[in-house]
């Protein structure tokens, strides 16, 4: 199941990650089932790169991101992270107390800029909180650091005595980024950081993230559902479907020569800026499978137009069929699939 990690220069190595949410019912709230939000996900992120994580709503992208950071406790699997000071650590086995030592190196940027900032705190207090808690700075030094961080994300430090409600969505997202940067993290999980923003603001925030990556040598796990955004920012992309990674490859390889039928359908749905083009998008019949009651075999087989008998019986494993191109499909080598049309 696990993707081979003979890779070097890794920062994060996730193997067979599982996160199940119990379904309780009845008066005594007995566990009667589980929503398998993340069910055996394996991937790795190299130091300094951006891994895009795409998929439909509810496929487990956000849960994956939050479980890696231990905002949720994993049900199974291993998460290994290369801490600059501590070396390789097993995130999945650490206690909450032990996590505190690693936390500064792993941060998150949230989707909704309106609920990710405490409305009762000034911008100064929001951005300085990580520094205060981890006793990095105090007094005038603290103030200078906050001003510096705000300048870095393109905000005027004079605004720091204001409350979040005085800012627009894009500005709030910048404040959230400043907070994430405060402790000099290595890895930042960007959980749909631009989905809630206007298109013009999206571009600004994306450029900011790219600039920061270059300047500060950051590594991103970039979760999104907007394929063009992901293509723009990612070095590699992983595609999720109902709690599984179905394909992971370099951005170009994945977009232009996908190997999984689901990726093909996704790519066909990317709108093309050419009115004369009459490519028909691939219609996927049926509904997205329920993570509480998934189909047998390959989760995608009821909707796959290439499905054969084996697909409903055996779950395909994620295999490296070309260097750095991982696919979970029985027919990945045979199928000739269409990518994004240039």
């Amino acid at each position: 199941m696990a993707a081979e990690t003979t890779q070097d220069n890794l920062l994060l190595d996730v193997k067979d990650l599982k996160k199940y949410f119990p379904i309780r019912s009845g008066l005594l709230r007995r566990v009667t089932g589980a929503v398998k939000a993340v069910d055996g996900v394996s991937f790795f992120i190299r130091d300094g790169e951006t891994l895009g994580l795409v998929g439909e709503s509810g496929c487990g992208k956000t849960t994956t991101g939050r479980t890696i950071l231990r905002l949720l406790d994993p049900t199974g699997g291993t998460i290994r992270f290369k801490d600059p000071k501590l070396g390789w650590v097993d995130i999945d086995k650490m206690s909450r107390e032990e996590m505190k030592a690693v936390r500064p190196n792993m941060q998150i940027i949230f989707q909704d800029p309106f609920s990710s900032l405490d409305p009762r705190m000034t911008v100064e207090r929001i951005v300085s909180e990580p520094l205060v808690i981890n006793k990095v700075a105090s007094g005038q030094e603290l103030k200078d650091r906050v001003a510096d961080l705000l300048r870095r994300v393109g905000m005027r430090p004079e605004y720091m005595s204001r409350y979040p409600h005085a800012f627009s969505g894009g500005q709030r997202q910048r404040i959230g980024i400043a907070r994430a940067l405060a402790l000099n993290p290595k890895l930042i999980v960007c959980d749909e950081p631009v989905s809630a923003l206007d298109v013009s603001i999206q571009a600004q925030v994306l450029n900011l993230l790219e600039d920061l990556q270059e300047e500060l040598k950051l590594t991103y796990l970039f979760i999104a559902h907007d394929l063009s955004v992901v293509e723009h920012i990612s070095d590699r992309v992983a595609v999720m479907y109902v709690g599984h990674i179905v394909e992971m490859a370099d951005t170009e390889a994945l977009y232009y020569s996908p190997k999984h039928p689901y990726t093909e359908a996704l790519m066909a749905a990317v709108p093309k800026p050419d009115p004369r083009r009459r490519e028909r998008p691939i219609k996927l019949p049926g509904e997205v499978a329920s993570p509480a009651n998934p189909p047998s075999g390959c989760y995608f087989h009821p909707r796959c137009r290439y499905a054969k008998e084996i697909c409903s019986k055996v779950m395909p494993e994620l295999q490296e069929i070309e260097p750095d191109h991982f696919v979970a499909c029985h027919f990945a080598r045979e199928l000739k699939l269409r990518g994004v049309v240039v």
Binding site: F110, S115, D118, E129, P130, I133, R162, Y163
Partner: protein, 353 residues
């Protein structure tokens, strides 16, 4: 100066102006400003402040002693009251202008007793509110924040306590406190300790033998559940917010998250509820005193005065009207203030006036 430059100047000027305007938007300052515009709330606040002053300086303001009366003056009614009140009081009442609002059945000045009555009603309102706030907030915060089984068990306990009829529970409690603690004089027992604390409380409030501690306890025990439920509900909705997750990501402890992020965000609605519940506590004490389970004589509780006055309501209505009027004014004042607070703190009211 070209046209464009002038336009740019104008724009810039307007921007700076807008900035200056925005700078003062502290949420609490905002709320305060909104409340200052609410006339009813300000009237309520002024009345409450006046009542507090009345309570603190009761011994200086009150023209007569609240304990001892002159039996020759019993049921004395001033002339101006006989003209206002219905019935032909002048025909049978002892008319005398010694007391502004008349005297009670023991010849004690009604006005002085009503003034001293604030020393009972206001502490009951404030202490009841504080006890309910502290117990309810701590209990509700723990239950809501930790959730799961802890929440289940803690909330079932609230349900059970809630299931008792409040009035019946408080009557039983008061009867219990008064009989087992009130007369306790054997040093070393818990009942004796309670009795001593009660004396200290009474002396602090400047009352003679009031039994105030027992009323505080009775109200405290029965009043915290509402706040606990409210706090829990608020926290449940708040703890899923992403800024709470963000704090956890930067290594904030549970205590820090509760005190720095959660409490400041829920204190608004809770403050409003507490303020609006103060009249309830005051009326509970009045009710208890009315049925004889409240403060002990000669401490002048409004409830006890209403109870005594009600016996002579047909012949001497002034005896019941004065304390009832004070009670009504006090309750209105707290309700107005609470309404004002709610309007000021409710973000949905932002921008409306």
């Amino acid at each position: 100066m070209t046209r464009q430059e002038a336009a740019a100047r104008r724009l810039l000027g307007r921007e700076q102006e807008a900035e200056r305007e925005q700078k003062v938007t502290n949420l609490w300052a905002d709320a305060l400003r909104r409340m200052a515009r609410n006339r009813a709330a300000i009237v309520g606040l002024v009345i409450i402040i006046a009542l507090v002053i009345m309570a603190i300086f009761a011994d200086k303001i009150a023209p007569y002693d609240y304990r001892a009366g002159d039996s020759a003056d019993n049921y004395m009614v001033p002339l101006w009251l006989t003209r206002i009140l219905p019935g032909n009081m002048a025909a049978y009442a002892q008319i005398g202008n010694k007391y502004l609002f008349g005297a009670d059945y023991l010849g004690r000045d009604l006005l002085s007793r009503v003034i001293y009555g604030t020393r009972v009603s206001l502490p009951v309102g404030f202490v009841g509110a504080m006890t309910a706030l502290i117990i309810g907030l701590v209990y509700g915060s723990i239950s809501g924040y930790y959730g799961g089984k802890v929440d289940d068990i803690m909330m079932r306990i609230v349900d059970i306590v809630y299931a008792f009829p409040t009035m019946l529970l408080i009557i039983l409690l008061m009867a219990f406190f008064k009989t087992s603690f009130g007369g306790a004089n054997v040093p070393g027992t818990a009942a004796y300790t309670f009795n001593r604390i009660n004396h200290v409380v009474d002396r602090f409030l400047g009352l003679e033998g009031g039994g105030m501690l027992f009323i505080f306890m009775g109200i405290g025990i029965t009043a915290w559940m509402g706040i606990a439920r409210l706090a829990r509900g608020q926290i449940l909705s708040l703890k899923e917010k992403e800024f709470i997750l963000a704090s956890r990501m930067i290594g904030a402890s549970d205590i820090r998250i509760i005190t720095r992020h959660i409490l400041p965000n829920i204190i608004g609605p809770i403050l409003v509820t507490v303020t609006l519940s103060i009249p309830g506590y005051i009326s509970t004490e009045v009710f208890l005193s009315f049925i004889g389970l409240g403060v002990d004589p000669p401490t002048p509780s409004w409830g006890a005065m209403i109870s005594e006055g009600a016996r002579a309501i047909r012949s001497y209505p002034n005896q019941v009207l004065l304390p009832a009027l004070m009670l009504a004014i006090t309750m209105f004042a707290f309700n107005f203030l609470g309404d004002g607070l709610r309007d000021a703190l409710d973000p949905r009211m932002r921008g409306t006036s």
